[in-house]
């Protein structure tokens, strides 16, 4: 029984990765058609590095992802601390609002923000130019719930006596936060940040409705290639991003592993004196 499930799992992972491997393989072959094999080559990579269109778009995507994930992380971490201090009733009300962008289909979120910008433009009798600012607002909005949902459980797991101890020892609340709390919730903040960054980097649906011609992101551009054949250098870019994200995830994995071990140790030593 266990063996069958194991073979099944391997097959499903193969199913998930075959298209990805096909794209990676495509980056090393000539010709843009993934289904026909021509010859092995590295020209896609040299073309990519000499490219004047895709790389600036990648830069746009990266700038947007960095700025939006940093703002969302700062705002979201503060929000999580605030939400934790709310009364249970208020907290669940706030959490339902937090869940809206996560439950709503992306297309509805995108459309609703596009309409908001159109509406505000109408009301102020000027046209709101879609571009970096509108994209940034949209990305922060859909990133915030992920940050909050990854910081909140860390706050809940944290032993409240640690902060109390810091306050007893003469820390002001701000100091207690920067000397104690932040270290306890850091893994949550980091994983929220990374999640927000990758979500933002890869977002297409929401960006598609709020981007403007002066600031185009990579996924939007890839979508616009629907009409024309994809240049194979895109596969080269995909491959590079694949390995970059792989490395990032391995790092995240390492951090999490350490955190889990540390928590096990500290819980083991704290449990006898822990009060709830």
């Amino acid at each position: 029984m266990k063996k069958t499930i194991r073979i099944f799992t391997v097959l499903i992972f193969a199913f998930l990765y075959i298209p990805i491997l096909l794209l990676v393989f495509g980056s090393f072959t000539s010709g843009s058609d993934l289904s026909s094999f021509h010859s092995l080559t590295l020209t896609n990579y040299s073309e990519l590095f000499a490219d004047r269109v895709l790389l600036p778009l990648l830069k746009n995507s990266l700038i947007l992802a960095v700025v939006s994930s940093l703002i969302a992380t700062a705002l979201g971490t503060l929000a999580a601390i605030g939400i934790q201090a709310l009364s249970p009733k208020l907290r669940s009300a706030v959490m339902s609002v937090t869940n809206i962008p996560m439950t709503n289909p992306d297309i509805v979120t995108g459309v609703s923000l596009a309409l908001l910008f159109a509406f505000v433009g109408q009301a102020m009798k000027t046209e709101i130019r879609l571009g970096f600012a509108t994209l940034l607002i949209a990305h922060i909005t859909f990133n915030l719930p992920y940050v909050i949902l990854s910081v909140l459980p860390k706050l809940r797991q944290m032993d409240p006596t640690l902060r109390d101890a810091a306050l007893d020892l003469g820390c002001r609340p701000m100091q207690a936060f920067f000397k104690v709390t932040i270290y306890e919730i850091l893994p949550g903040i980091v994983s929220g940040l990374i999640m927000a960054f990758t979500m933002s980097l890869d977002d297409f649906v929401i960006s598609y409705f709020v981007y403007g011609p002066e600031f185009v992101t990579l996924p939007v551009e890839i979508y616009n290639y629907v009409k024309k054949p994809l240049p194979p250098k895109i596969y080269a870019l995909f491959t590079l991003m694949f390995f970059a994200i792989l490395v990032m995830m391995l790092l995240m994995n390492l951090i999490q592993g350490k955190d889990d071990k540390r928590r096990k140790l500290s819980l083991a030593s704290l449990r006898p004196v822990r009060r709830t």
Binding site: I5, F8, T9, I12, F13, L16, Y17, I18, P19, I20, L22, L34, S35, S36, L75, L78, A79, A80, I81, G82, A85, L86, V97, T98, I100, M102, N104, P105, D106, I107, V108, V111, L113, A114, L115, L116, A118, A138, I140, T141, L144, L149, P153, P173, L201, D202, F204, V205, P219, I222, Y223, V226, I234, Y235, F238, L246, L250, N253, Q256, G257
Partner: protein, 271 residues
């Protein structure tokens, strides 16, 4: 506590950029081009009912297939060593971070009439089979794209199931089928519900997958909304359809959540 005030900037942000936009959608749905009140956009939705039905139908099938496939995978993942669990988690999440547009392109290259699968089938004298531009291909694309979304919540619930419960069931004479139906399934119900919604919602609203893998008669509701906003700029009727989609999705989520009652629902979504 002063801490409460820390959530204020966030609450304002959500007010302006989550709640206000939804109000604006309602406003556009209920007005005409000149801003006068009308119910015409809402009535016009009737014309799109067949497309709504098709979207719901395909998304439902895709969600059920995802559950059927994802369940054993998540179960396997939850029973291996912690290090292996983290590695497998990473492998599930990695495709979620990669451009789904390009991965769908790769599916096209696999399924096309002259694609890789048909080439392979041709070698043994079968085909070419019509693997693309039909509803089946759209469901295939949905399953491929959204499978990780069902594995993650299922895994996070199953990993909490105490292995001793399964051992106890074994000791008490359950066979593996009974263990599944009497222990594992009831304890993972909230994961099933949340996994289902996490596939159903993006699947019912997708527009790229149907565009690349579907045929001319497989337009989904997402395609309609996209066309209203991008091709014809008919914001008002587009808003009405988006509103209808949102109501549909919220209704489904509400119904699904009803099944779980209040067993720490918000933690299921977490990784």
């Amino acid at each position: 506590m002063k801490n409460k005030a820390l959530s204020l900037p966030y609450l304002l942000w959500m007010l302006f950029f989550t709640l206000a936009p939804l109000a604006v959608v309602v406003y556009f749905a209920l007005t005409d081009r000149n801003g006068a009140f009308t119910l015409e956009n809402i009535f016009a939705i009737r014309g799109f009912l067949p497309i709504f039905a098709n979207s719901v139908f395909l998304a439902l099938i895709a969600s059920l297939i995802c559950l059927a496939i994802g369940y054993p995978v998540a179960y396997y993942m939850s029973r291996v060593s912690p290090t292996k669990q983290r590695m497998l988690m990473m492998l599930v999440m990695l495709p979620m971070c990669m451009s789904f547009l390009l991965r769908t392109m790769a599916l096209v290259a696999l399924l096309n009439d002259t694609g890789i699968i048909n080439q392979l089938l041709g070698l043994i004298g079968i085909g070419p089979l019509p693997l693309i531009r039909n509803n089946g291909a759209v469901v295939f694309g949905m399953v491929y794209n959204f499978l990780p979304y069902v594995i993650l919540p299922l895994y996070s619930v199953m990993v909490k199931i105490d292995p001793r419960l399964i051992e106890a069931a074994q000791d008490l004479g359950c066979d593996s089928r009974q263990i599944f139906s009497k222990v594992v399934l009831p304890l993972s119900k909230s994961g099933v519900i949340s996994g289902f919604t996490m596939v159903f919602v993006p699947a019912v609203s997708t527009f790229y997958i149907s565009k690349k893998l579907g045929g001319t008669n497989t337009a989904l509701i997402g395609d309609v909304i996209e066309a209203q906003f991008k091709n014809s700029a008919t914001f008002n009727s587009g808003a009405a359809i988006a509103l209808a989609l949102m109501v549909l999705v919220l209704f489904c989520v509400f119904v699904m959540n009803h099944f779980t009652e209040d067993e720490d629902g918000d933690e299921v979504m977490l990784l």
